[in-house]
Symmetry: C2
Subunit: 326 residues, 2 copies
Amino acid sequence: MADNQKEYYLGVDLGGTKILTGVFDTKFDLKGTSKLSTKAGRGVDAVIERIARGVKEAVDECDLSLSQVRGVGIGAPGAVDTETGKVIFAPNLPGWKDVPLKKELEKLLDVPVFLGNDCNVCTLGVFDQEFKAKPKHLVGIFIGTGIGGGLVVNGDLYCGHNLTAGEIGHMVIEVNGPKCGCGNRGCLEALASRTAIFRKIESAVKDGQETLLTDMLGKDLKDMRSGDLRKAIRRGDKFVAKVIEEAAEFAGIGVANLINILNPEIVVVGGGVIEALQDEMMPTLVKTAKDHVMSGTMSGIEIKASKLGDNAGITGAAVLARRGTA
Amino acid sequence: MADNQKEYYLGVDLGGTKILTGVFDTKFDLKGTSKLSTKAGRGVDAVIERIARGVKEAVDECDLSLSQVRGVGIGAPGAVDTETGKVIFAPNLPGWKDVPLKKELEKLLDVPVFLGNDCNVCTLGVFDQEFKAKPKHLVGIFIGTGIGGGLVVNGDLYCGHNLTAGEIGHMVIEVNGPKCGCGNRGCLEALASRTAIFRKIESAVKDGQETLLTDMLGKDLKDMRSGDLRKAIRRGDKFVAKVIEEAAEFAGIGVANLINILNPEIVVVGGGVIEALQDEMMPTLVKTAKDHVMSGTMSGIEIKASKLGDNAGITGAAVLARRGTA
């Protein structure tokens, strides 16, 4: 089949718990998706096969065949070498060290594959599709289980010397603050991620704090989700409202640091926590950020919640495939 | 005189207290300098005339004339518009708001003038002359009365949307930490600048802390300089050693944040405090930074003290002139 008939791009969002795949046409309309659990515990090879299966299922869902796909992009949760297409290290995927993901998938799919870090890829998706690649400089910050980010500089994804730029979640903003998964203290991720928020709530509940959440989910807060916090706040739970307010303040300080350092045109905030709690968090986040940016340097800079939500990853991965095959 | 006979670049480092000017030949050998106090209190026009006088004195010192100068670069302490050549705002120069410095100086000197932010200009000087423009991405951080920085991305000075990128000193690293001149709390500048270090020492001495510094300078620590701290430490003053150790730790956390965000090839540390206390601060600064950078992302990245010292400003300003007239 001639290349000009290969009219689709695939984007894969590889996460620690699920693999989301989207099929986009050349206008970037989303034609269909597939969703599989990652089953990371089964090992590297099994996950790679599941990614390939997810791709095939998404293509089939759209009544297409792989021969109509121009390229597949993947965002992986860890340090990646975008040039060789290797996952260097992925903290949430056991055993993933120096995995030649691009090469293995190209063997299984016979389609060009392009690899990026998940948060960089989300940033690329938001930049290219939500903002139509117009801003010169943009910072993406994604608040979910962890906090990650991506930088667009002069219209291009900026990856740095070891291709690991954008580790925004491990910026220390409170020396001697709470312990972070990375081993340090006071990282933004240890103060404003879903993990940090849930830990704070669980610890307070253990200490006898009353909250609607225990009525909703039971004393052990089983299966708590960000959406539960939104419900509790809307029903008047002042404790949960305060925890979320504080997380939004920390996130706002993180955003201010990024604006002071990078002075981008747009800071876009996304991820599961923001998707669920946008109305509760964004006003405080924006106000705190503006209060902490150097006087006179904020002119024309916008801080916005992303509209792409959970689709930022598959969108960005498909953009990666388009840029790679262009 | 033909342009190819205009064989000199001038670099001006405009500070709150002094105006330093350097004459460089096309090989960037420093042929001579002039130094004038700024006399900022005399107002904007008086300072502009003093800058012009400093330029003329430096040229005369080298037995040259202005007609042999290809361009003059200036680093100014504040927000500048590099395109129009205006100083937007300079916190340490009273009355400096929207000052068309380029235009005014070109009137007085009849030579092309190029303007940059002082820390950006220092970074450019270190990048171009100390590192021979080889690193792709470099971050400069300058610790003096305040703390400022500059970013080189893809071999070029990165200035951001409002041309104010690199405000590294106002990155919050200790929420609710000590008050900063900018009005916020816990900025790097409020923890690791000369001002922060001196304030800590003065306050401890008031509270009865014993230190060799009072033997050296008297009870009121009059005219204390960074070099005095070095002398006290080398004579065994454990209190001063501890204050400097803590400042180096804070600076190291700031450097780690920048590496986590930007993953540059080189972080170069300069400024008066580092020039005076390099041996005392750099080992702790580098160790703390490495301890706080995300595991596996530091490979090949160097953290170095600049060798240009106080000449970084005039060197960078002359590089600005060379790039502007190229």
